[in-house]
């Protein structure tokens, strides 16, 4: 049985669809896909905001993302007479983190936290901060309620699963026992805590001090002390967003290319969504090669090219046939790789997007991609 075809237009025009999350491994075209979906949905009459993570410069310009103020801005030239409009924003993870701190603590406290060196490294380089802040921003946009559809691009991590796992990992870290224990000396003001936590931890604290220097632990203590009111909040927030994503109004789209690595990641992700009973809408396979002349096989084209090369004086036609053979061989290889995926996941709806000759950096090109996503080609 062949898998179903992903009906993007039905998904986008269904008012019950409130969130579309585009996931996939790095370099498969997630950002372009999210932007194209958002433009198409707005043109079809929906009030859309697209949250991009790290768009290429010219794509950002096409979306009017010239001001990086972590706030959605209206995109001119998109929408419909029926009221469709598009907003776009690029995630600023540090700023998003700062805003959470500011929102949840007194001005004095938040100044303390924001200037803490440990906080600064946590908010700008902790593995998973970007994913956590993307989730956080998504939660905020949803809570604002100004849009009836939110399209989310996910951070360019190695593994597509990071988007789902990193926020909880980070929340566990922030709410975790380890961090509290490290902060304990500052709070207890003495060494009594050592008895409670045991020798292993003492050793750990000693080694940490040796390696990282006493200053780091002092910073950690100060940070934990200042953040005290927010503890528990991190995990709660991460869990709330995760739950929101598992409700029916969300549609996960897994983006891939017909390459083994990208489809392996897509497989992991599909399995994970199934396990967690999260709503998978389908898989988009970008950059698929197809020939306009499938009836002429690659082998026949190659044989004919060889014959013409022997005859001489027919370089043009020989080259045209060799180009065709190359396209056919590439297409066949891609089909084999894709078939491996569809055999493992026969229930998953697919949409293949043909490889484009140029790069996508204006609204017209995004609309072309959108049409391809909807199967209009």
């Amino acid at each position: 049985m062949s898998p179903g075809v992903l009906d993007v237009d039905a998904m986008l025009s269904d008012p019950a669809t409130r969130i579309v999350v585009c996931c996939g491994s790095g370099g498969v075209g997630k950002t372009t896909t999210s932007a194209a979906l958002a433009v198409r949905a707005a043109d079809a009459g929906r009030t859309v905001v697209v949250l991009t993570i790290d768009p290429a410069r010219r794509l950002a310009q096409a979306l009017g993302l010239t001001r990086l103020d972590n706030t959605p801005r209206v995109v001119d030239g998109v929408g419909s007479a029926g009221g469709g409009r598009l907003w776009a924003m690029q995630l600023d993870m540090k700023r998003t983190f700062d805003e959470i701190v500011e929102e949840h603590s007194s001005p004095q406290r938040s100044r303390q936290i924001l200037s803490n060196p440990f906080y600064q490294s946590l908010s700008s380089s902790f593995a998973g901060t970007q994913e956590y802040m993307a989730m956080e921003k998504l939660g905020q946009l949803r809570a604002m309620g100004d849009w009836d559809l939110i399209v989310v691009d996910t951070p360019p991590s190695r593994s597509a699963l990071d988007f789902l796992d990193a926020p909880q990992r980070m929340a566990r870290f922030l709410d975790g026992r380890m961090l509290r224990l490290l902060a304990a000396p500052a709070k207890a003001g003495g060494r009594a805590y050592l008895k409670v936590v045991g020798a292993g931890f003492t050793l750990f604290a000693r080694i940490l001090t040796k390696i990282l220097g006493a200053q780091v632990l002092t910073d950690v203590s100060a940070f934990v002390g200042a953040l005290d009111t927010m503890f528990g909040g991190f995990r709660e927030r991460a869990e709330a967003t995760y739950k929101m994503l598992s409700r029916p109004g969300t549609a996960f789209l897994v983006v891939a290319t017909p390459e083994p690595d990208a489809l392996r990641e897509a497989s992991y992700f599909v399995e994970r969504l199934n396990n967690d009973a999260m709503p998978l809408a389908g898989v988009i396979i970008n950059r698929v090669h197809r020939s306009a002349v499938p009836k002429l096989s690659g082998q026949r084209a190659e044989t004919a090219a060889e014959a013409l090369e022997e005859m001489g004086d027919q370089e043009l036609t020989a080259a045209v046939l060799r180009i065709h053979a190359e396209v056919m061989f590439t297409a066949r290889r891609e089909q084999r790789i894709t078939a491996r995926f569809t055999k493992a996941h026969p229930e998953v709806a697919l949409r293949e997007i043909p490889a484009l000759a140029g790069e996508v950096h204006d609204l017209a090109a995004l609309r072309v991609v959108g049409a391809a996503l909807a199967g209009e080609q």
């Binding site: 380089s125 593995a127 870290f173 080694i207 306009a292 290889r333 000759a357």
Partner: protein
């Protein structure tokens, strides 16, 4: 025959970066093989826990141990190592504090994960430290590896990853970790190191390459070569390629050739010609990208597109090309 690549004659530590999807692991592997030609021993290192090297060489996941993965023409050999950050921290604790056993206990507590988490710079110092150690290791006054090739993080993160001194500046001001990072930085900034950038002939990877070169240069890290991967040789004769790019390839000429080859020119000539013209756009993009790379005035190597999935024989083919281009 020159003993080393004339473009970076003293380089022993080759750091390979590139935008995601440009094939930097493949290029790093081919480079490690090319540098092992003529009876030399090289080490290929990965640091991102992906086990990309193992799958490329068709090996089971690599242990944290230098393992031979290939032999090179002339009796050379390539070893590989997947550096794991936990294991690197345990090593470090063992070397500087004789704390191997305690380290294991810490691992059970999840403390190692924690330590590298609260100080992200620590992780990078440990990883680059391990690479530096291998690159400078000697036995009996002789270097163990002719060259070490690092399959490094992608261009977006490379400068930060390599700029370890700045990364740990917030950490201990004295003590082993400071000494360690200063030692690593000294090697990374010396002529023993070359940071190579892998790119495709496409707009975005080329832009990232240009940006990364600017960042690396500003940080005083030695930029090596730009390695173009997956370049497609043009199949059309030059004059026809120009016509194809301009969208003016003659259907009738193609039709005449198809007749000669005994193919149905009536139904085939037009779509095949159009397909060739569409394909020519990619050459045009390639040519533009190539011109931007040439404007950088860096030494450049070009590797062809191979019909994947890449296997060991492909790696040798790419290594041959690098070797013929002067990589030793």
């Amino acid at each position: 025959m020159p003993a080393t690549d004339p473009d970076f004659p003293a380089a022993r530590l080759h750091i390979v970066t590139g935008k995601g999807g440009t094939g930097k692991t493949t290029v790093a592997a081919a480079l490690a093989i090319a540098l092992a030609y003529g009876g030399r021993r090289t080490l290929l290192v990965e640091v991102e826990g992906r086990q990309g090297i193992a799958s490329l060489f068709d090996y089971p996941p690599l242990p944290y141990k230098e393992t031979r993965v290939a032999v090179a023409p002339g009796g050379g050999e390539v070893l590989a190592l997947a550096v794991d950050d936990e294991a690197a921290l345990l090593d470090y604790l063992d070397i500087f504090y004789s704390l191997r056993r305690a380290g294991r206990a810490l691992r059970k507590m999840g403390a190692i994960d924690f330590a590298t988490a609260i100080a992200p710079g620590l992780r990078d110092v440990l990883l680059t430290g391990k690479v530096k150690e291998a690159a400078t290791r000697t036995v009996g006054g002789k270097r163990v590896y002719h060259a070490v090739v690092l399959d490094a993080p992608p261009t977006g993160r490379i400068t930060k990853f390599l700029n370890v001194t700045a990364e740990v500046s917030g950490l201990a001001k004295v003590g082993p970790i400071k000494t360690q990072s200063d030692g690593v930085m000294a090697v990374l900034r010396s002529s023993q190191t070359a940071v190579h950038l892998v790119t495709l002939l496409e707009e975005m990877p080329v832009q990232e390459t240009i940006d990364a070169i600017a960042d690396l240069t500003a940080t005083h890290l030695p930029v090596g070569a730009v390695i173009v991967n997956a370049a497609r040789p043009s199949l059309l004769p030059p004059a026809d390629e120009r016509r194809a790019i301009a969208g003016r390839l003659g259907v009738s000429r193609v039709a005449a050739g198809l007749e000669l080859a005994g193919l149905d020119s009536k139904t085939l000539a037009k779509p095949l010609t159009e397909q060739a013209m569409e394909d020519a756009h990619r050459y045009a993009v390639q040519d533009e990208s190539r011109a931007r790379i040439q404007a950088l005035a860096r030494s450049t190597y070009e590797l062809p597109l191979l019909p994947g999935p890449i296997d060991l024989s492909d790696l040798f083919e790419l290594a041959d090309i690098l070797n013929a281009a002067g990589v030793r």
